[in-house]
């Protein structure tokens, strides 16, 4: 059997990797050559965006946020997700061992691909994820052109 030293560290190393990740996060020096459009780690909310055939879908991780308190606006092809997630402390008698969760105001602006129809927007909140679907304008949808034999 061929043994390659780099192929699969023992699980013991995972704790070291996690420690390294946490330190990188602390100083945010993990990526010295970061993309100019990249966001620092820990940005709230984290989002996914996909461009599909007929729509653009966005998922934002907003756990524990009252869906009615989320301010969602679409203007000039820029989607803004704003809101507040304040974690209340339970008075002075409570001592905290860890405070890693985001607390406070948040705002995130995402520039969207061209050719979307601002009238075809749907947003749904479920299990801490906000799902946004923005339909494409009719003229921007891919069209099948049939070739006729002349």
């Amino acid at each position: 059997m061929q043994v390659r030293w780099y192929d699969g560290f023992t699980p013991t190393f995972n704790d070291f990797f996690r420690l390294r990740d946490e330190l990188d996060q602390l100083f945010d020096i993990g990526l010295p050559l970061a993309d100019i459009r990249s966001v620092p780690r820990g940005t709230f909310p984290a989002i996914n965006m996909q461009e599909e055939k007929n729509a653009v879908t966005i998922q934002a991780g907003l756990p524990g946020v009252d869906p009615t308190e989320i301010d969602l606006t679409l203007e000039d092809n820029v989607l803004t997700i704003k809101g507040n997630r304040t974690i209340k402390t339970d008075g002075e008698k409570t001592s905290y061992h860890r405070r890693e969760r985001f607390s406070g105001d948040f705002a995130r602006m995402v520039s969207l691909p061209e050719g979307l129809d601002a009238e075809k927007v749907e947003a749904q909140y479920r299990d801490g994820i906000l799902n946004i679907t923005i339909g494409k304008a009719e003229e921007k949808k891919p069209k099948q052109i049939s070739v006729t034999v002349g």
Binding site: P11, T12, N14, D15, R18, V39, T43, A46, I47, N48, M49, Q50, E51, E52, V56, T57, I58, Q59, G61, L62, P63, G64, V65, P67, I87, T89, D90, K93, T94, S95, Y96, H97, R98, R99, E100, R101, F102, V110, P113, Y125, D127, G128, I129
Partner: protein
């Protein structure tokens, strides 16, 4: 249901560090007062069926299976929520009453209440004057 059982069986045999491979570590808040310890964990995209809170001896294990987040074949513009499941484990002390631990999942936030056993709670001692 069967799938969930095998999942539990796997967790019983595997070491926490082994499961930690390829999983996301959810951020947590842990606070303590004289009644007990309360843990909050952010688990966006996890529903009741995908969540497993498990106590094995001194280890509290939290694992959450993420529901699909967007279609995979589409052109990705942003991908900050990785397609990974959540896992985090903590050791708990003797003073926690194992039988009274309760957990609740609301809007992607898990709250685990770990009450202290009666004997571990602080007591005020009356001083008698004579």
């Amino acid at each position: 249901m069967a799938e969930k059982n095998t999942n539990v069986a796997r967790q019983n045999t595997a070491k926490p560090s082994e499961i930690a491979t390829n999983t996301l570590v959810p951020p947590v808040d842990i606070c303590e007062d004289k009644e007990g310890v309360i843990l909050y964990a952010d688990l966006p995209g996890v529903d009741k069926d995908g969540l497993d809170v498990h106590i094995d001896k001194d280890t509290l294990q939290i694992s959450g299976k993420r529901t699909a987040c967007g279609t995979t074949d589409a052109n990705k513009c942003y991908a900050e929520l990785p397609e990974k499941d959540y896992y985090r484990a903590f050791t708990i002390g003797e003073e926690i009453d194992r039988e009274k631990i309760s957990a609740r999942l609301t809007n992607g936030v898990l709250k685990v209440v770990l009450p202290k056993a009666e004997r571990a709670k602080p007591k005020k001692i009356d001083i008698k004057f004579s």
